[in-house]
């Protein structure tokens, strides 16, 4: 049986400014509580007050549109992304990260923003959203500012948020017309290592208007460490024709950039995830088509 929580005051402010003042005074912010409550129960933290951000209006919106982008408000529980058709179709990487939450019901209380702000390597949302070029929108001293996810984790266990800053949403740009994304993870407790192992990878692949060559790609690895992108591997894909060998080479380049421990099993698993994330993102990008293609398929002709 887990412990009861230590005593604290619970504040439920109605505005961001009130919340920021309470957090600056030592309060710990809370959204769903999926990360915070186990920490409190384990005695890892014992704050004098907890500041619930769930009563602040305007933070509960989820908006996904392939032309405009994806916007996930701070109060949006992760599972809300699952029935959203545009999130599933055009922002597949984050959709898959939520789909694979362990346990699935955690997505009914945990939020995407809470997952990002926990700054934990074994959390998945940042991996997917970094591949989708996500930006965290932050309420800071009465103003809004944006922090790209690539700059959101300055050090292990830390975010770029200053005390009193509140992440109000995460936003991703709309994907290109012919673009696809994917997220893959391994969540293992192998017999030959002591600690549970989690590795996750996400990728996007974007084609140009002629739908022949890749014009841009993103590649992210997480789980073993806080997520990061691999500029050299990404650059090696730009301008290339798609090919399984190309994705394998890019995955190898990313592995070299990642500097993982020299464990051959870990290396092999990370390689497979990176390669497969790229392959699936590519397949999704190529599966994108417009109405003209449907008609051409019906009459048995290729445009």
């Amino acid at each position: 049986m887990s412990a009861r929580l230590p005593p604290f005051d619970l504040h439920e402010p109605a505005t961001l400014d009130q919340a920021a003042a309470l957090i600056r005074a030592g309060g710990v912010p809370m959204l769903g509580g999926a990360t915070l409550i186990p920490l409190l129960a384990a005695g890892n933290i014992a704050p004098a007050s907890v500041v619930s951000l769930n009563r602040i209006p305007g933070l509960d919106r989820l908006y996904a549109n392939p032309k405009v982008g994806l916007r996930i408000g701070a109060q949006v529980r992760a599972a809300r992304l699952l029935p959203d058709i545009w999130t599933g179709k055009r922002f597949a990487a984050i959709h898959e990260a939520v789909e694979q939450l362990d346990a699935p019901h955690v997505g009914n209380s945990g939020t995407v923003i809470g997952n990002l702000c926990a700054a934990r390597a074994d959390y998945d949302m940042a991996v997917a959203l970094m591949a989708l070029e996500g930006v965290v929108r932050v309420h800071s001293a009465g103003r809004l500012r944006d922090i790209a996810l690539t700059a959101f984790y300055p050090a292990p266990g830390q975010t770029a948020l200053a005390t009193g800053d509140i992440a109000v949403a995460v936003e991703c740009p709309g994907p290109g017309t012919d673009a696809g994304s994917a997220f893959k993870k391994l969540d293992l407790i192998p017999r030959h290592i002591d600690a549970p192992r989690k590795i996750s990878a996400a990728a996007t692949v974007t084609y140009g208007v002629e739908r022949e060559r890749i014009v841009a790609a993103t590649l992210v690895l997480g789980g073993v460490a806080l997520p990061r992108r691999f500029p050299r591997a990404e650059a090696s894909l730009a301008g290339q024709l798609p090919d399984p060998a190309l994705f394998a080479t890019a995955a190898r380049t990313a592995l070299r950039e990642a500097g993982l421990p020299a464990d051959p099993v870990l290396q092999a698993q990370a390689f497979a995830l990176l390669r497969d994330a790229l392959g699936q993102a590519n397949a999704r990008a190529l599966a994108r088509h417009d109405h003209f293609d449907d008609v051409a398929d019906l009459v048995g002709e290729q445009p």
């Binding site: 887990s2 929580l5 230590p6 619970l10 439920e12 509580g33 409550i37 019901h105 955690v106 209380s109």
Partner: protein, 157 residues
């Protein structure tokens, strides 16, 4: 202490609770519900699932006070789908005493979405559970028998 009224299994329950009360503490300590054991405390075992506004939520992962406007349902609910599931799990001997409440909630959630459920969908509804005391297939069989009973009764799909 804060005075708050919670809607649990359709009944308004006023209580005085401290701010640090989790949903599981509210149900166990203040409302004397016995069906929500506190298992892992991290939301991973699925033992303490309850329905909050019709969604399965681990009661060990939520503070109680922010849920004072929500509809909370435990595995003790008298509602007909829940009662059918509870009976089917008992008849099949599915789930250990610690996990049966959570399994009841997960199965009820799945069967309320549709009683025309397949074995595969039943298995998927159990993904968040760690009960290894009884065979998962026994639980699947129980869910399918509850589904058959609901279909026969004509619960709308």
């Amino acid at each position: 202490m804060t005075r708050a009224t919670f809607t649990v299994n359709g009944t308004a329950r006023p209580v005085d609770i401290p701010a640090e009360t989790r949903l599981i503490d509210l149900l166990q300590d203040h409302l004397a519900m016995t069906v929500s054991p506190d298992g892992c405390g991290t939301g991973h075992c699925g033992g303490c699932l309850v329905l909050v506004d019709d969604r399965p939520v681990a009661a060990c992962l939520s503070l109680a006070l922010p849920l004072r406007d929500a509809r909370i349902e435990t595995a003790e609910s008298a509602e007909s789908v829940m009662a059918t599931v509870r009976q089917a799990l008992a008849d099949h001997g599915a789930g250990c005493p610690a996990c049966r409440a959570g399994l009841t909630i997960a199965a009820t959630h799945a069967l309320r979405i549709s009683p025309w459920i397949t074995a595969e969908e039943s298995r998927a509804s159990l993904l968040g559970h760690r009960c290894r005391c009884t065979a998962a297939e026994t639980t699947v069989a129980a869910i399918l028998s509850a589904a058959a009973a609901l279909q026969q009764r004509g619960v709308p799909a």
